[in-house]
Symmetry: C2
Subunit: 122 residues, 2 copies
């Protein structure tokens, strides 16, 4: 549990987009890294708040009533129940903090859906 | 809750070391930023796992049986119950992710102690 994690090294291990990888676990929460490119699916998480922190590149989180632009070193917390859509105009590297129970597409079923228990650990 | 947070901007607002500032809250957890310089006090948290991620500079976490060196873009998760001491040879900017209940010096009382409910929000 006290192993050091280098985020860039973890991100160098995969190319696929929209597939979060678990890189840490604490207090029932996961730390994940993910690559985003393009537009994701609109969704919401019924119970889980979700944090998006940009590590490389830039992205935006679209809400139904506003859009938040994020650059490297910036984060936003999306409260549970709030519909949102991540969009990355170019490849972005993103860190996620969220409960271990979080399903990537929330209450929506989509080609991108991966059940929480099927996520890969890097 | 959907306000964007820029970590560098938050860190520019204070100079004091060893005083974590709350910059986000989700799922009963706090996201904090803190400046470290020098050696902290040995302590442990009875119930809370604690994540240290280096944003600028470098630091180390000393455990009783090993030391982990951390540079920018690296993190470590210290499991609850495990005695540890953060040390920063030079000024380091660090992100903490831990339960809202976490007391900065754990079960130890020290000049650095700040009760969780007294932490400043930036």
């Amino acid at each position: 549990m006290t192993t050091k994690v280098n985020l860039a090294e973890k991100l160098s291990r995969f190319d696929e987009t929209w597939v979060p990888k678990i890189v840490g676990e604490l207090n029932g929460q996961y730390v994940k890294v993910v690559k985003f490119e393009g537009a994701y699916v609109w969704h919401r998480h019924e119970h889980e708040d979700e944090m998006f922190m940009v590590l490389e590149g830039r992205m935006r989180i679209e809400f139904r009533d506003e859009t938040i632009e994020l650059s490297k070193g910036e984060f936003v917390i999306v409260p549970h129940g709030v519909e949102h859509r991540p969009v990355a105009p170019e490849l972005a590297h993103v860190l996620l903090f969220e409960p271990a129970t979080t399903r990537n597409t929330g209450t929506v079923n989509h080609d991108h859906t991966i059940e929480a228990e099927d996520l890969e650990r890097l």
